[in-house]
Subunit: 201 residues, 2 copies
Amino acid sequence: MNDPAKTATTAEPLHPLLAERWSPRAFDPEHQLTERQTTALLEAARWAPSAGNSQPWRFAVAHRGTPAHAGVLDALDRGNQVWAHAAAALIVVAAQSVTADGATRPWAAYDTGQAVAHLSVQAQHDGLAVHQMGGFDRGRIATLLVGDGTLTPLTVVAVGRRVDAGRLDETLAARERATRQRLPITDLLLSVRPAPVPDRS
Amino acid sequence: MNDPAKTATTAEPLHPLLAERWSPRAFDPEHQLTERQTTALLEAARWAPSAGNSQPWRFAVAHRGTPAHAGVLDALDRGNQVWAHAAAALIVVAAQSVTADGATRPWAAYDTGQAVAHLSVQAQHDGLAVHQMGGFDRGRIATLLVGDGTLTPLTVVAVGRRVDAGRLDETLAARERATRQRLPITDLLLSVRPAPVPDRS
């Protein structure tokens, strides 16, 4: 179900799992994740790299139709609820940004982003689509999570099977069909100043 | 050059680009990145998802043998310098964590982690190895970057061609050959409390 209009336009070819990945809003409301699919997604995240192998990523998987799902869905911003309800699962992603003994983990968010990226690549490989959301009530999500106070909720990830944009209302369907945009590479590049020459005077 | 001892052990099979990726310390000191390889790495990062498509990731690519490389290498912790010098390039990764008009980007680090994960997947596909480092002098790296004060340096990424661990001293070679470890999935899973039932009394 690759959509040429959604494929990344690049100066050098990317692996298809990267080039063809995007974040849809039209999900099949009948589709359910199998246990094996869910496990593969979590395994992908689990084997991501992290600072000192600290593995700060934590996940709460709420499958559509469960009480947990109702609670997570309800904490999303309205603009996300209108489409995210149809995804097979909502995965709450939190970083353990402080260790049990109170030490901060400066790379907790960065590493958790990596883990979700690995999850997304595996999802793409398994014919699933992923759409990450930052728009939710952080306080309510934190209240829903059974944890020890060391967790920082970062995103809620909708995972499911993509369907045609015709499922969406007109505004969302137009966004769903829009060409993907990115900054040019030149805007992402920083220069490095040459190291200062030692003063020999 | 897949190493079975380094492949992730998973309950469900992962895509090989994820299962076989790891972070080596033995790099070929003669190997150089081609311009096309460098472009593909940056394209992979460029097309990662981000909050509101904010694309907060920024990169400074320092190829071995350049003055920029000398400056970046010098800012690494000694324990990283001893192996990272051999990689074809050191890429400084920074998040634009504040916009030009002063607004903070809460997902800047998370999204930048995702971009580097995409870069790593592309590197693996291209037969390159990646090892991310958090151990460097942040102040010195920030001084080296030509920017506008909105940048937060997060990692320095060594990219190159992996070689046999025999290139390393004994301590590093032992680490290079060690079996990869991760927490069990059960340790990563959080529970979600059921949403409270409205009080009808």
